[in-house]
Each structure stands twice: as structure tokens, then as C-alpha cells.
Symmetry: C2
Subunit: 494 residues, 2 copies
């Protein structure tokens, strides 16, 4: 076998193990009997240890050393680049760090859940501090000591650093706040409490119709129910989830479309390369660009609802009786000040993210102490969103991420929004009358374009380079601002 073939064999084994681990995680959140969690924890730990063993196989290091000496080959370059990152990260973090981190994740999760329930940030603060300390230690171990926060960002979006995000977010903030003020100053008010009694079975049938039409391949995927919607698995077997509320059909519909965006990306990655960079997603920002594009730019559009409103009314005639088309469309595109990120609309969402980035940046620079978090959080919400959380449970304690030591993850949501808007205008430019397709329920031209310009590259290009390759432009907030103005100002002009 050539060194490359040897590497491929090892990568295929790692991929196979990770896909098994992912199925265990999916099952845990969808089907696992309530008292069977003990065995699942044990199974998860078994898989984690086998995967760690496979990733730290010293032969991988030897193969990479050998291949890196040879002249750069464009085809294998991204594969070697990402294999090197993964191998170094797996081997440079000692088992003691990995164990401490795993244990802390479990403890901090329970501490977070209790703290949120009891509105008691101080009881959670020590866990956050330990997570921060471990993250700083990882930066040292991985040789990222100058700007430790940058390592965290790099985990999710390789090549992106905090200085880059700083520039993007400050431009976004400057432009976005006046747009938001204009929207919220309007006399137009969306009503989202007008939907009652939408049966779950019919919601499910409707959203399966929609997500199939968008292009999700149910022969290689499923949609099931979980507490929080997610998309897991890979293109060989893509498992999405949603949740249903009889009085909030738009929640499950749009969360399903969001997950469908993730699923379409996975299903568009080259199936024969799932084990290496050519068949993996380019990063979290790129992934989020796909979910947001399908959820927001496509499915909250007039054109989309020209096709789906009659079908929606056919499925729920009595429930939608008395709700006008304008009321429906406005509810789909409602904007409001909401202290909770996951309940917020696509305009204010970005401000929620900017606040979290500002906090993480300061934490890692030592400019903000853990115990100062609630005050800083509340002040930022007042300044940027004009609201004050009533308590820490709906403030600094609302997100699970930090309890898992996931710092540097939040920015990717907003980077994804930027890329989504940029892809949107590029596609509109290159595909004449694209939205006419939507009003006929045809999304194939857009999907083909995304397959060609984003999906098929896998992680060959990471986020910033992908933006240039797919849109001809560096990543910037300009398209996002333009899109939000185009979509929302006409709606809220009075």
C-alpha cells in the first residue's frame, strides 16, 4: 500500500467509528427509553475511547510526516492539511486533559441545568471557570498561546480568528442597529399567537412534503422527534429531528427546514470521501450558511409562500380561517425584542451572537471575570437589543454551549448568516428568475447551484476561502444587511 492508501484505510475506520457514535447520540435524543441512559453513557464512553485510540495511532503521524516531505499535490493537500490538524489535536492533548474535560462536561451540564432552573448563576460559575482554565490550557498545549481564543474559533471554523470576526461584527453591528430600530419603530406588528390546534400528524405530513420538495432525500434520511431539533449522521444516512406544538406550527416547520438545510449539505458532500476533508463539511459557519439560506432566504420568501400557502390552507382549513395572507406572511417574518436567542428572529439573532462573541473574547483575554458575566450580559442586552433580561435564567444562563466547554462556537452562527446572504445574492445573480421557480415549488436550480458551488468541495476550502470561491467576494456583512433591508423594511414601512 502507498502511504496515502494507508492513511485512507485509517481514516475510513475513524469515520466508521464516528458514524456509529453519532447514531448512538441520535438514538439517545430520539428513542432511548427513559431509564436506559446508564447503558448509553457507558456505550458512549466505550466509543470515545476507541475513537481516541484510532485518532492517536502513531502510524498516522508517521504517514503524515512522510507525505508532507513530498511536493504539494493539489488533490491531496486539503486531506493532509486537515488530517494533520486532527492528529496533532488528538495527540497533543494528554489523556489527563481529555478525561478532566469529559468529566467536567458532564458535571457542568448538570450544574448549568440546575442553575438555570433555580436562577442561580453563582452555583454554576466555578464550572465555567474550570472550563475556561482547561480551554486556556489546551491553547498552551496546542501551541496557540498568543491569542488563546483563536484556537477555540479555529475548532469550528478553521482559518478564522477573533480579529477577523471583530472586523466583520463591528461593521455588522453599526449597520444593523439602525435597521432594527426602523423595524421596531414601525406601527406594523406581527401576531404569532393566532395559530391554534394544528394536529401533529398533519404538521408532520406537511413538513415532509415541504422538505422533500426542497430536495431532502428521505431514502437516505429520516426525521424524528426530539426535545431540541438537530441534524446528525452524514450523507449516507442523515437523521434530522424536530418537535411539534399544536399552537405553533411555524416552529416545527421552520426548524425542520433549518435542519433540512444542514441535511442537504450533508447529502451533497461527496459520498465516497466521507472519511477525509474532501467529503466533510467546510466548518460550522459553512454548515450554518446552508441551514439559514433554506430556512430564511428561501422559505420565508413571498415566492415560497405563493406556492405553499394554498397547500397550508388545504391541510389546515379551519385553523387558518380568518387569518389573512398578509397576517400569515407577517407572522412568518415577525421581528421582536426577545431575550432568548433560540426564540429570536433572523434580524435580532445576529445581535445575540455579537454579545456572546464580545464576552468570550474578553474572557479569554482576561478582561472579564466569570463572576462579572451576568452584569456584562445584561448591560449588553440593554445597549444592543434594548431589553433587560428579568433574571439570569433568561439571561446569561439560557445557552447550554459553555457548559460543554464550547467557546468559539457562537460566532459561526452569525458567520453562517453572512455567507448565506452572500450566496443568496450570487445565486440570484447567476440564476435568472430563480424565485419564480420557488413559486412553482421547484427548488432544484438552487440546490444544483449549491451542490456545485458549495457542497461538492467538501472542506477543500474553509469558510473564508469558500466565500471567495463560491461568491467571488471575501466574507462580509454587506449582503446580510442588504438582505435584511430588502426583506424587512418593505414589510415594516409604516
Amino acid at each position: 500500500m502507498t502511504p496515502f492508501e494507508e492513511l485512507t484505510e485509517k481514516q475510513k475506520r475513524i469515520q466508521s467509528l464516528e458514524s456509529i457514535s453519532s447514531l448512538l447520540g441520535w438514538d439517545e435524543q430520539t428513542l432511548l427509553p427513559e431509564d436506559s441512559a446508564d447503558q448509553r453513557q457507558d456505550q458512549n464512553a466505550t466509543m470515545a475511547s476507541i475513537i481516541h485510540e484510532a485518532k492517536t495511532d502513531l502510524q498516522i503521524g508517521a504517514i503524515l510526516d512522510q507525505m508532507e516531505k513530498e511536493p504539494r499535490d493539489e488533490k491531496t493537500y486539503p486531506i493532509l492539511r486537515d488530517a494533520r490538524i486532527e492528529f496533532d489535536r488528538a495527540t497533543k492533548l494528554p489523556a489527563s486533559w481529555v478525561e478532566k474535560h469529559a468529566r467536567l462536561c458532564s458535571e457542568a451540564y448538570h450544574a448549568w441545568a440546575a442553575a438555570r432552573k433555580n436562577n442561580d448563576f453563582p452555583s454554576y460559575a466555578p464550572y465555567l471557570q474550570r472550563h475556561l482554565d482547561l480551554a486556556l490550557e489546551a491553547s498552551d498545549l496546542l501551541g496557540w498561546s498568543e491569542k488563546p481564543y483563536d484556537l477555540q474559533i479555529d475548532f469550528y471554523d478553521p482559518g478564522v480568528d477573533s480579529a477577523t470576526i471583530d472586523n466583520l461584527f463591528s461593521e455588522l453591528k453599526t449597520e444593523l442597529v439602525p435597521v432594527l430600530d426602523q423595524i421596531l419603530g414601525s406601527s406594523v406588528q406581527a401576531r404569532t399567537d393566532i395559530f391554534k390546534g394544528f394536529s401533529v400528524d398533519k404538521q408532520k405530513a406537511f413538513l415532509e412534503d415541504v422538505t422533500s420538495s426542497l430536495g431532502f432525500n428521505y431514502k437516505r434520511g429520516r426525521i424524528d422527534i426530539s426535545l431540541h431539533p438537530f441534524c446528525s449522521g452524514n450523507g449516507a444516512d442523515t437523521r434530522m429531528t424536530t418537535r411539534f406544538h399544536e399552537d405553533n406550527p411555524l416552529d416545527s416547520l421552520f426548524s425542520s427546514i433549518h435542519e433540512t438545510g444542514h441535511g442537504l449539505y450533508e447529502q451533497g458532500l461527496p459520498l465516497h470521501s466521507l472519511h477525509n476533508a474532501l467529503g466533510k463539511a467546510a466548518g460550522m459557519g459553512a454548515h450554518e450558511s446552508q441551514s439559514r439560506l433554506w430556512e430564511n432566504q428561501v422559505s420565508r420568501s413571498r415566492a415560497f409562500w405563493e406556492h405553499y400557502e394554498p397547500k397550508f390552507r388545504e391541510a389546515f382549513p379551519s385553523q387558518l380561517d380568518g387569518i389573512s395572507s398578509d397576517e400569515l406572511y407577517l407572522a412568518i417574518n415577525s421581528v421582536s425584542r426577545n431575550p432568548i436567542r433560540v426564540d429570536s428572529d433572523e434580524v435580532t439573532y445576529n445581535l445575540h451572537i455579537i454579545i456572546r462573541f464580545e464576552i468570550e473574547k474578553r474572557l479569554f483575554a482576561g478582561e472579564l471575570k466569570i463572576e462579572e458575566l451576568p452584569d456584562f450580559w445584561n448591560a449588553q442586552y440593554k445597549e444592543l437589543l434594548g431589553i433587560e433580561p428579568r433574571n439570569d435564567a433568561e439571561g446569561v444562563l439560557q445557552d447550554v454551549h459553555w457548559s460543554g466547554g464550547s467557546f468559539g462556537y457562537f460566532p459561526s452562527y452569525c458567520l453562517g448568516n453572512m455567507l448565506a446572504a452572500q450566496l443568496w445574492y450570487t445565486a440570484l445573480d447567476q440564476l435568472p428568475n430563480l424565485q419564480d421557480d420557488f413559486s412553482r415549488g421547484d427548488f432544484s436550480r438552487l440546490l444544483t447551484w449549491l451542490r456545485e458551488n458549495v457542497h461538492k468541495h467538501g472542506a477543500r476550502y474553509h469558510l473564508l476561502e469558500l466565500s471567495k470561491q463560491a461568491t467571488g467576494q471575501a466574507l462580509s456583512p454587506k449582503s446580510l444587511i442588504r438582505y435584511l433591508q430588502d426583506r424587512y423594511l418593505p414589510l415594516y414601512q409604516k
Copy 2:
């Protein structure tokens, strides 16, 4: 760590891996998207290789060598005994045999499915021959060369050999054939085609009610839908399946109760010992005794239906309108000549098994050639059941087992029937007025008795010893004959 602690650690890892593998198998048969089988095959192969590696860990052999030198300790004896069997079987079969066997299983399965579809035994015969050759080779490798068939039986029911089964089955056959003639000579005829339009949702609700009442713990288990019903997982997370036909509610009900019997056994095994013999089932015969006892002795009884008939009628008032109690009870206990084992009743079922045993015994002794199978099969069916299969698809090609190289498995079904009847009369003897409990929908005394006399022992005693421990009697067909006479002769006496 003591040698025993070391062994325990290794066994826990093997158990964890096997439980993961089992979940992959369950998911494959219940939920896997139709085009995702390729990835699942790859995942299965990955797990198989990791499990093989774990089972052939030479340290296990060293630990066993060391512990076997020490004086016998009653507590650890069954653990060491079964660990030795497993280690020897894993290490004595070379990788080349394992690979050949795995490949043949896959090829033979497809050949079998095609042959059954096309009613073409000759196309399948070469695969059967190769399976037989491999099985004989395994007997040589594992040092079982004198009576190679005995090894196959030992895989499923340790300690049982073909001579033992020969004795049991010939007594059973002699006693059973006249009973069957009496039943089939009766003018009483059950009708099973009187059930129409039983909605799946209501069937599911009804059977969940029944199986919960029997004692299945749905907080540590589930029931889902698959093509063929099965029970997988373990007591920590027991996954049963069933299937639904609107015009055959008794099929899904009794198949669910059958799987519940398996599930109750798993859920009754000591949870802290799932990794060793003290927490594993005693063998296939013992497992089948539990499924048959709950399905037949308990749930086809008058007492059971005294409680459930009103509930069944409440769930399906119009569908059962015009069907009398006697007709219902007779349909539940219908006996007929059916060429298909899985569709047959509990009286004739045993003859289906005896025929398969006679064939396997002769194949392994070299007294019957593969190409002679169809003729031998048909002659046996004519002699014992008085029917001639119309073709090989409903004859020798009906079962999947041999395509997976599973010889020696069939007898365990009938051994299970014998033990079930023996347990039944022992329980009736020891638990006064037990069936009065059933007519009140209370099955807890029986379950507690089975927990105490069968489940809690795990595999401490294998089948033959378990029979003595739990019933005070060696395994024998006498109770089974008595039970079939008691249950069926009064029903079919005219």
C-alpha cells in the same frame, strides 16, 4: 487489580461493544432508510472486527490460565467456564475461517432469497454445501471432531448433544402424533379469517396495554415495527418489534407477547452482571421457554381471555361484533396442517422442528447429501404432518437459518417448548390458584416466580441443569404432551 478484576474489565468492554453492535442491528431492521444499508454494512464490519479483537485479547487467555489453576470457587465458576468457551472459540477459529464464514453468510443469504423467490433449490445448494463444509471445519478446529453436529447444538444450548435430543424428540414424536390426529380428526374447526379491519393504532395501544400488564418495563424498553418480529438488546435497554396486519390482529398480539417473554427474561437477568455468565441468558432453549410460556401457556389460556376479551371487544366493538367468545377462543387456539413453520400452531410446531433436527443430524453424519434435501424434507412432511409442500419455496427453502450457517439452532425452539410446559406445571403446583390471577389481569406472581427460579440465575445453569433446578425434573417431553392434551383435547373433542 486481581486477575478477576482484570477479566471483569475486559468482559465489560466486550459487553459494551456487543450492545452497540446489537443497537446497529436493531436500527437496521426498524428504522434504517432504504438506501443507507451500505453504510450500515460497513459499520457492522467495523464493530465485528473490534469485537473479535477484544475477544481474542491474549491477556484473557493468560488470566483464565491463572485462575483455572486455583481451587474451584462456586461463585466465579460459571463465569470462568463460559469465558473459557468464548475465548477458545474466538481464538481457535483463524481469521481466514471467520472471513470466509462472514462472506459466505452474505452471499448465501442473497442466494437463499433468490432461490426461494424462484423456487430454485439447486441454485442455493452449493452455498449450503459450503456452509456445511465450514461448519465441519469448525468442529475440527475446536476439537469436536467425533460428533461434529454436537458442536453446532452446543453453540446455542451448551451441554446439550444430539443423542440427548434424539431421545427427547423420539419420545415426543411418539406421543404427539396421536394427539395431533385426535385434534385434526375432530369436527371442530377454528376459523381465523373472521378478523377484518383492526386499525393499527388501536392494535398497538391494546398490545402495549397487554405487554405492560405482563410485566414488560417500557422505561427500559420499546416496541417498534419490523418485517419479522424479534427482541434485541439486553435488560438495560430491551428492544422488541412486531408487525401489524389489519385483518390479522392475533398475529401482532401473539408475536408481541412472544417477544415480551424474551424481553421479560432479559429484563430479569441481573443488571450488574450483563458482562458475564451470571447476567446472560442460559441459552436459546431457556430463552425460548420464556417466550413460549408467556405466549402459549399464559396468553392463550381461558383465564387470560376472561380478563382481556372484554377489553379486546371494547377496543374493537364493530370488528368483533358477531364473533362469539367460543369462536374467538378457538381462533386463538387453532390447530391445522400448515407447511410453514412460522405460521404453524403450538401443537404441530414441534413436528416442524423434529424434521429439521433429523435433517441436520444426517447432514453432519454424512448420511444425507445436500441435493437430497428436498426429497427428504417432503417425505418427512408427508409422514409426520400429512402434507406435501407444493414446492420447495414452501418446503425446504422456507427458513433463513441455514443461509447464515445456523445449524443446531432449530432444536432449541422445541427444547424451549418442553421447558416452558415443565415450568408451567411447576408454577401451577407451587402457586395455588395462579390462573385466577390471570383472570384479574394480574401476572405478577408468575413473573416473580420466573425471576426467582429462572431469570436470576443467568447462565449459572445451562438448559439441562436449569430444568432440574427450576422444576426438580430432568428435561422431558412429558409436560409438553400433558399440556397440549389438557389445552387442546377438550377444545377439539367432538
